[in-house]
Subunit: 301 residues, 2 copies
């Protein structure tokens, strides 16, 4: 079963206390797609500029990502430049050039409308609604968002939340969206906005899942060295959705298995700069770390 | 099997965004003892002043705490006044009066020397060493410490660490003690200082356990309302040690079971001000929440 992601494609320049890289492949759709492709075939809908190199496209294709929905428009590719603090949970955005992303209207290629697993990456809620209007009875739609849309386009964001099955956001966004500091209370409030499942990413502290029927709390895979946290959240979402699409499992057990696979996959992403580690990742490595994670977290009930 | 705790007894005045209490029972030994007493008989060695009310002693006795080692010295009881921020992870100490704690020299009553499970609460490392010199072949000694001793008495603290089986500290202390921000690396460095097990308390994010043979990572029990975080760490340590003493289980399985019981017990402490909730806690409630925690964290390997 394929997974469709609609989101940004970017050049990222990233500085962390451990080094820097310039204009590497970035964007929510790129990280999501690379992570999801470990588990299932992936389709991207997004936009790049005339300056986007073929090598990035080749890298995505090689990972099993279908690029038919990737528009190449006149102008430059979206560019992000960020610098992480010694505390990698904190980062400053030094420069953003929206470029071709500014006028991006997502258009699903013929044959994409019936994709069953769909992820609406962080983008203008109007663009997310545009995608929703083009889908035919998807099995599971999840969305991400960010502080900017929570503050600037709350009405449109609410319409998205009313129509998605799952929302995947980080803890500070959950606080902002709900008006509550407490993660359980925040999740409960967001659940009332529409989605049936709320997934709150807590960075190095793992993930909290909340729905009416059950909750799940899981720590992150403990790493001795994190080189670059960029893309961890989108890698989580990609592996989560990819795993759901691959297993086709319904119910809490399948959901939890997918969450842990998301967790484990994201732990690879942050071990190198940009999407480098993710590009070289295979299912065997994920499975091995998954088993190690089971060992790290098991206790007798 | 009894558990011995040596640590502070205090009056605490606590302000949080949810309310305040004045001069309630506090101190590491009090929280530890109340939590441990849910699982096993507890012995306290500590000091109070002439102003310490009988009602607090009665409350401890009623919970099964042996107070023979509690000295009542001339002067006033140790007093702490703190205020938590809206973000309960941050607190300011508004006032500290060491009072009788200043000249406290721990003395084990006859018959206490052979206690098998011993916890050296946060205090001057010289006092911790004093306790160690009075013990006969304990089965498991664990210690806590704090930033003050890490900075002011590093040499004596190192001697303590060389002689204990387990160190139980929070994440900021682990960073300070090890010089590493990363929790895995911090634990690895502290392990080299002597203890065979390092337990790092991460507050609302749970616990990380590290030893040469295995590691364990577990989230905290997710709570919708935290009224007062005071004593959570000592409650964790108390329930952890109490559970080990009660089960007498060796090996990783017993260790993990004790850690989760510590986790679950601490989740009760923070649901009310001071030690109020802990005082009313019984084993049945802990067991029920333990089962709920199993349900909240289980996934298929």
């Amino acid at each position: 079963m394929s997974v469709l992601v609609v989101g940004s494609m970017a050049f990222d320049s990233i500085e962390t206390p451990h080094g820097r890289v310039d204009r590497v492949l970035g964007g929510s759709a790129a990280y999501f797609a690379l992570a999801a492709s470990v588990f299932a075939p992936v389709r991207i809908v997004g936009v790049v500029g005339e300056d986007f190199p073929d090598e990035h496209l080749t890298a995505l294709s090689r990972s099993g990502v279908d690029l038919e929905g990737l528009q190449r428009n006149a102008g430059k590719t979206f560019f992000w430049h960020g610098r992480y603090h010694e505390d990698l949970n904190v980062r400053d955005t030094l420069e953003v050039q929206l470029n071709v992303l500014l006028d991006f209207v997502p258009r699903l290629p013929a044959g994409y409308e019936d994709t069953e697993y769909v992820f609406l990456g962080n983008m203008h809620p109007a663009a997310q609604l545009e995608v929703l209007s083009q889908l035919e009875q998807p099995r599971l739609v999840a969305c991400d968002t960010m502080d900017h849309w929570i503050h600037e386009t709350p009405g449109e964001l609410r319409k998205v939340l009313e129509r998605v099955e799952t929302v995947v956001i980080n803890d500070s966004e959950a606080r902002m969206l709900s008006g509550h500091d407490n993660v359980v209370r925040a999740a409960r409030v967001i659940l009332k906005m529409g989605p049936r499942t709320v997934l709150i990413k807590r960075g190095e502290y793992g993930v909290f899942q909340f729905s009416d029927s059950s909750s799940f709390v899981v720590p992150a895979y403990p790493l001795e060295e994190v080189l670059d946290p960029t893309g961890a959240g989108d890698s989580f979402a990609g592996a989560f959705m990819g795993c759901l699409a691959a297993d086709g499992v319904a119910g809490d057990d399948g959901l939890r298995r997918a969450i842990v696979h998301g967790n484990v996959t994201a732990s690879f992403t942050v071990e190198d700069f940009g999407p480098r580690r993710l590009m070289a990742l295979d299912r065997g490595e994920v499975d091995e770390r998954y088993r190690r994670f089971v060992e790290l977290t098991r206790f007798h009930g």
